[in-house]
Symmetry: C2
Subunit: 198 residues, 2 copies
Amino acid sequence: MSNPAPDDKSPYHHGDLRQALMAAAEAELGERGIEAFSLRSVAKRAGVSHAAPAHHFGDVNRLLTALATEGFRQFLAAQSAREAAAAPDAASQMVAAGLGYIDFAMQRPALFRLLWGSRRPDFTDADLAEASRASYQHLVDQIGAAGGRTIADETAVWAIAHGLADLLCAGRMSGIGSLAPPERDRVLADILRRALPR
Amino acid sequence: MSNPAPDDKSPYHHGDLRQALMAAAEAELGERGIEAFSLRSVAKRAGVSHAAPAHHFGDVNRLLTALATEGFRQFLAAQSAREAAAAPDAASQMVAAGLGYIDFAMQRPALFRLLWGSRRPDFTDADLAEASRASYQHLVDQIGAAGGRTIADETAVWAIAHGLADLLCAGRMSGIGSLAPPERDRVLADILRRALPR
DNA sequence: GCGCTATCTTGTCGCTGTCAAGATTGTATT
DNA sequence: AATACAATCTTGACAGCGACAAGATAGCGC
């Protein structure tokens, strides 16, 4: 096991460049956005040459694919975090999952936009497809437990959570976006509950 | 008035290059998507040199800003078209506006993504900001006429329409997206009506 | 010690957006 | 009608980009 000293300035072999590139890529995504995302800038941030990422990811889209796959898992984790703090009844769990969906969008907007608003990740990639499916299927499943029976019910809860998340993430909902978090959560929960059939 | 012959092959002065560039830009957007959008490719399609667009739009983002402004107006027109064909009661008009919102997203996905999923247009531009505001304010106003009173009501109808539109536009809602249009409209209308307070 | 392979660097290519300078055309003025 | 001026478009250049090829370096099994 090599284990180079942390202060080792610039060893020819990085050690865990793949992970470092992923972290640098997310930081770049947060600072410059997906539009100005640059593979060379990621490499520079990680302290390696401009061609180093190619060996680990092939091309820039595959780096973004890996980033999106990891992003979807954290996205699902954000929903689980809300559920853990919510009442155990099915309707509350459904609302909590929706609030987690929105939490992620507001807290990590650049990553959310990579997941839902970009075509650069390769969504035919098996890992990404599965991580993506699992992330919204979890939410959709909740409404079944809460009394939803039709495809309209399933679609409704997903569309409501996604619409709120996307518009808040983009900063276009000044009305709700400027509310204090507790009050905002109450309004969002009110809206999410409308997905349930009457 | 100049009025050059239509078959005039390549006059030094185009005549209405600004409009031609807008059309070429939308065509490029539809064929290659926002990620691969290229100013030089737009110029080539319009039959002019690579630097010609700069004189009319300054830079590429201002071309996209102009395109988005026009896009928002057509987006609003898609809602009006549905309303004109719907029953005159307030709830039906609200649903119709939502269906028009979704129509536009499914029929012109590249443009919809420019309007709602890109940061390249300059949304501080006065014309664009006004066109954008008008496009969703119209939908939000409908729920007031249909009995909505709270900020939750207004937010709900917008979020539902937008969530459905965004996910259908991205091709991620295979369940509803694969239905035949009449059946699909029925399900979408069912969901849109859930925005109304009970 | 030796060879093999993975890892990383350097250099190059075509493409991109933007800027500067020059060519062409339309229009107003005299 | 001739001239000056402004608008329009082209050509050429530059740096930054993603991708590829070739070479340098390092770890690892033998």
